[in-house]
Amino acid sequence: MGAEHLPTSEFDIEELEQSMTSSDPADAPEMVQLLASDGTLREDVQYGPYAAHLDGEALRGLYRDMFLVRRFDQEAVALQRQGQLVMWPPLLGQEAAQIGSGTALQANDYVFPTYREHGVALTRGLELSALLKLFRGVSSGGWDPREKNFHLYTLVLAAQTLHAVGYAMGLQRDGEDGVSVAYFGDGASSEGDVHESMVFAASNQSPVVFFCQNNHWAISVPTEVQSRIPLSNRASGYGFPGIRVDGNDVVAVHAVTRWALEHARSGLGPVLIEAFTYRMSAHTTADDPTKYRLSAEEDAWRDKDPLKRLERYLRSSNTADDSFFEEVTVQGDEMAAKVRAEVLAMTGPEMVQSFNNVYADPHPLVAEELAWHLEYEAGFADADEAGESN
């Protein structure tokens, strides 16, 4: 290997693009797309039938969900900028990947998200403000995962992919027809746990769908540093189907996910879906994309905006008109105002609550330290009282 192939500390976008285009095009998987960027619907023999049930109302529903979660995301970013949230991982650009896949799930399917699946949370019927408890620093969770079959956000990359497979193994043993869905990103795909989860899933033929949102950037590092081949191609190495879908095409994502869920549900084992999309915003509000990528790249992806694409179709097919889009806008503003009010009302827990639930059964060390803490705090209360009486 020559020195020119050694990685450098900074990524040259042109070089990366060249390295991508110079790979054998025969290796590139077909990208499933049903809704073209010009807003026209395409025929697809395999996946088309899985979108056939989407009537006008359903399509408007997909648009509404994407719009609402984008509006929610905007509000969360604003709350962070105003110091009301510690930080926030925006989903801007990934609405179709999340709404498309989330709406394909049944109630008894179980979602193991990473920390950016705000859109999937919306499709599960989660109260969106609950997602903000973690980022406001008032809870490490924020909701009961069992209520909507939506697990807590997992910040340790890829750890949840194994939990998803274990859960799927449980579904198998229980004879239930639910499917476990593991969400992760292109950066997390490098983690060993993703590999192990796919080995375990294939080994057990477990009902699990791996949903990888390839948003092209793991904080500041591009996908090419994680994988030299398209991520969906990896599935064949484990012995199950891998599908690359246009992650900005909500109809295609929905159809492909329905197919994958049916595949897993019928006992045929796991599926990997790579939703090819783009994170338009920062990884979190703590980083600055202008330091690691070119605005030209963002501009190119802006043209593929998932909401604009569906809006074009809804208008051209007379499925929705101005009044619908106005109605959705009003609904978004109301939702955002409600979320804002709820966040501002969220106060931190009392410290004593942190002693709860360290263990499920009574634990003498926790009890001892809690007793010490209470006594210590009570000392201040006594001092205050003494001070007041003086």
Binding site: S139, S140, G141, D144, P145, R146, H151, L152, T154, V156, A159, T161, L162, H163, A164, V165, G166, Y167, A168, M169, G170, L171, R173, D174, S180, G192, D193, E196, S197, V199, F200, S203, S354, N356, N357, V358, Y359, A360, D361, H363, P364, L365, V366
Partner: protein
């Protein structure tokens, strides 16, 4: 009463819990047809089937991580890690996920996963096969850690570990796997998370656990021949530690020695020394002494006898303590 080895007592304990709870399942590498490298799960796959005794892919993080997912569905997975030094690929799942999910979910979720780890040296093996990493896990809130030293405890503690609603790591003293003893299969005697005075004495207390309990008992016997009465406590539970039992003993004896195979620095012995100096400062007639491993990777088998705490090192510490 039945007479059996520690290894077979664990097998019998696992069989009981498999029979009593249909949600109990075993997972690990080579635990099926082979019965595990130490044969602890021997015969269980034939008895309970492949869906309850699972030969997993060779991946420790995978074993722990999938066990967590199974626990979310109400299963009680018992994971076998083949050797102490091989637990580290699963360390992330144990410390960042398993230990914390109950707290992170405000009590909504539990992960009552049991992890069995054969640990410790003295079997003349090669590297990564003789380590004592218990302190690395004891430092993590949310985990419980126990270690039996005799067949009776082994039989009951594995069952109590499965019954616990918290994740439990069972460190099994592999050089004692073939130690035989009586097992009362009718009565456990006491809770897994408590210590036990296994020999009464008045002049000094030795706290030991797992593989070193027989060493501590032999040292106490030797001390008695020198005219010193030594109390021996089998710690049994490393997290939580039963400080009440140790404190009571130290109030009586005034001298405390803690011994374990793991390196002394940053070990469980230091925690016991510090707590007991807080709890029984005025009863102590000497500093609490520790007898443990050195600050080095576990040495090669040809010199391990110089590394492992033995009777002589315990007696030397006893002499130092009593000389104050």
């Amino acid at each position: 009463m039945a007479n059996m080895t520690i290894a077979k007592a664990i097998t019998a304990g696992l069989r009981e819990t498999m029979k009593n709870n249909p949600k109990t399942m075993l997972m690990g590498e080579d635990i099926g047809a082979l019965g595990g490298v130490y044969r602890v799960t021997e015969g269980l796959q034939a008895e309970f089937g492949k869906t309850r005794v699972v030969d997993t892919p060779l991946a420790e993080s995978g074993i722990i991580g999938t066990a967590i997912g199974l626990a979310f569905r109400g299963y009680r997975p018992v994971c076998e890690i083949q050797f102490d030094g091989f637990v580290f690929p699963g360390f992330n799942q144990i410390t960042t996920q398993l230990a914390k999910i109950h707290a992170r979910s405000s009590g909504d979720l539990s992960a009552p996963v049991v992890i069995r780890i054969p640990y410790g040296g003295g079997i003349g093996s090669i590297e990564h096969h003789s380590e004592s990493p218990e302190a690395l896990f004891a430092h993590t809130a949310g985990l419980r850690i126990i270690t039996p030293s005799n067949p009776h405890d082994a039989y009951w503690m594995i069952q109590q570990a499965v019954e616990s609603n918290d994740p439990v790591i069972v460190f099994e003293p592999k050089r004692r796997y073939w130690l035989k003893g009586e097992v009362d299969t009718e009565s456990p005697g006491q809770d897994a998370f408590s210590a036990k005075v296994v020999r009464e004495g008045t002049d000094a207390t030795i706290v030991a656990y797992g593989p070193l309990v027989p060493v501590a008992l032999a040292a106490a016997q030797a001390a008695e021949e020198d005219g010193n009465s030594v109390e021996v406590i089998d710690l049994r539970s490393i997290s939580p530690i039963d400080f009440d039992t140790i404190t009571t003993s130290v109030h009586k004896t005034g001298h405390l020695i803690v011994t374990h195979e793991a390196p002394t620095f940053g070990g469980v012995g230091g925690e016991i020394a510090a707590r007991i100096s807080e709890r029984a400062f005025l009863s102590l007639e000497a500093p609490v002494l520790r007898v443990g491993g050195f600050h080095m990777p576990y040495p090669v088998a040809k010199v391990e006898e110089h590394y492992l705490p033995d009777i002589d090192r315990l007696l030397e510490a006893l002499d130092r303590s009593l000389a104050y």
